[in-house]
């Protein structure tokens, strides 16, 4: 009888700890916490290039190579990136990227000082 009581107390202890652990930590959802930071960084990187006037220049010329070079020092190390420029929304191509941790940042421009040329710039970031 005493042995059974001891086992019962052990079970109560284990169950209590388990319940508290589950209740305390079950609602923590930090999914996307890292990638949302990527989006902010990516967006600000594009904005910085836009501030200098180079984003509109290279986007209008469809010069993704130069844009990627501009972006490289502005993005965190270890994160790959690629740029797609859309002239119209039906012509947006998709780069061939095989990664499960990938985000996109959309940025719009309307043109430069002399040319009205709306473009959608999509920045892909992945690791």
């Amino acid at each position: 009888m005493i042995k059974m009581l001891k086992v019962f107390e052990v079970i109560i202890a284990i169950v209590s700890v388990s319940i508290i652990f589950i209740l305390t930590y079950k609602s923590i959802d930090l999914s996307g916490f890292e990638t949302i930071n990527w989006k902010i960084v990516g967006f600000n990187a594009l904005k910085a290039i836009d501030d200098n006037g180079f984003l509109a220049k290279y986007a209008i010329d469809n010069d993704t190579s130069n844009l990627n070079n501009f972006l490289k020092p502005l993005l965190p190390l270890g994160i790959n990136h690629d740029i797609v420029i859309c002239f119209d929304l039906s012509s947006c191509s998709k780069p061939n990227i095989s990664s499960t941790k990938i985000i996109t940042v959309d940025y719009y421009i309307a043109g430069n000082a002399t040319l009205f040329a709306p473009r959608k710039i999509i920045l892909y970031m992945w690791s």
């Binding site: 009581l5 001891k6 086992v7 019962f8 107390e9 052990v10 109560i12 202890a13 284990i14 209590s16 700890v17 508290i20 652990f21 305390t24 930590y25 923590i28 959802d29 930090l30 996307g32 916490f33 949302i36 930071n37 989006k39 902010i40 967006f43 600000n44 904005k47 836009d50 509109a56 859309c86 929304l89 959309d106 940025y107 719009y108 421009i109 309307a110 043109g111 430069n112 000082a113 002399t114 040319l115 009205f116 040329a117 709306p118 959608k120």
Partner: protein
């Protein structure tokens, strides 16, 4: 070990778990995560505002400034709808030619509805000393109305264009100042925009006044 010791041990473990949870401040981290997502929506709407201003600059020497701005808005709107975001709002754009003292000047005004809903009734009240109003009914989403107003100025002054519209039984009023200066031609664009995303629904309102080259629009 006595059975009660396990209970005591359990209480200690629970206390440690609770202290750990409090010290990690996980709720704050989650709130911060939501805040960052909201910040992203704000950045996006700022990007749209910037794009509209870029459209104005790039169309500076063209007669179709309003059309270009509305084209850009629609371009972004379509793109955002593909991601499940909704860009909605209204633009009221006015342009008048070179103003000569004491002569009647005609101002062209357009209203573009991209609110995502039909405007049941739209009233434009032009105040240039006396009130003159025009009304329009059933302005569908993604449609534009064009109209004109006139004024005779003898000195630099500010007139008012009151835009009143009824949508789903709600009346909304926007007050736009139209600065008139003798010897100038101006474009006045008013934009009220909202971007609805899963994270937040930021909105902005701004007016852009551009003094046009006198030789381009006389």
């Amino acid at each position: 070990m006595k059975g009660q010791m396990f209970i005591i041990l359990a209480i200690i473990v629970i206390t440690i778990l609770t202290v750990l949870k409090l010290s990690l401040n996980i709720n704050n981290i989650i709130e911060r995560n939501k805040s960052i997502k909201s910040d992203l929506s704000n950045l996006q709407i700022q990007n749209i505002e910037r794009g509209i201003k870029q459209a104005l600059i790039s169309s500076y020497n063209l007669f179709n400034i309003s059309e270009n701005v509305n084209y850009f808005i629609n371009f972004v709107r379509l793109s955002e709808s593909g991601k499940g975001n909704i860009l909605s709002g209204i633009s009221v754009q006015s342009i008048y030619p070179y103003v000569k003292t004491g002569e009647t000047t005609i101002m062209n005004t357009s209203v573009y509805n991209f609110l995502g809903l039909k405007i049941d009734n739209l009233t434009l009240i032009w105040n240039n000393g006396t009130n003159y109003s025009q009304s329009f009914s059933n302005l569908e989403d993604n449609s534009t109305i064009f109209t004109t107003f006139s004024f005779t100025a003898t000195s630099n002054t500010n007139y008012t264009l009151l835009v009143k519209y009824i949508i789903e039984n709600e009346t909304i009023t926007k007050n736009i100042t139209i600065p008139v200066s003798i010897g100038n031609s101006k474009f006045i664009g008013f934009y009220s925009i909202k971007l609805s995303t899963v994270y937040s629904n930021p909105s902005i309102e701004f007016t852009n006044v551009v003094t046009l080259n006198q030789t381009q629009y006389t």
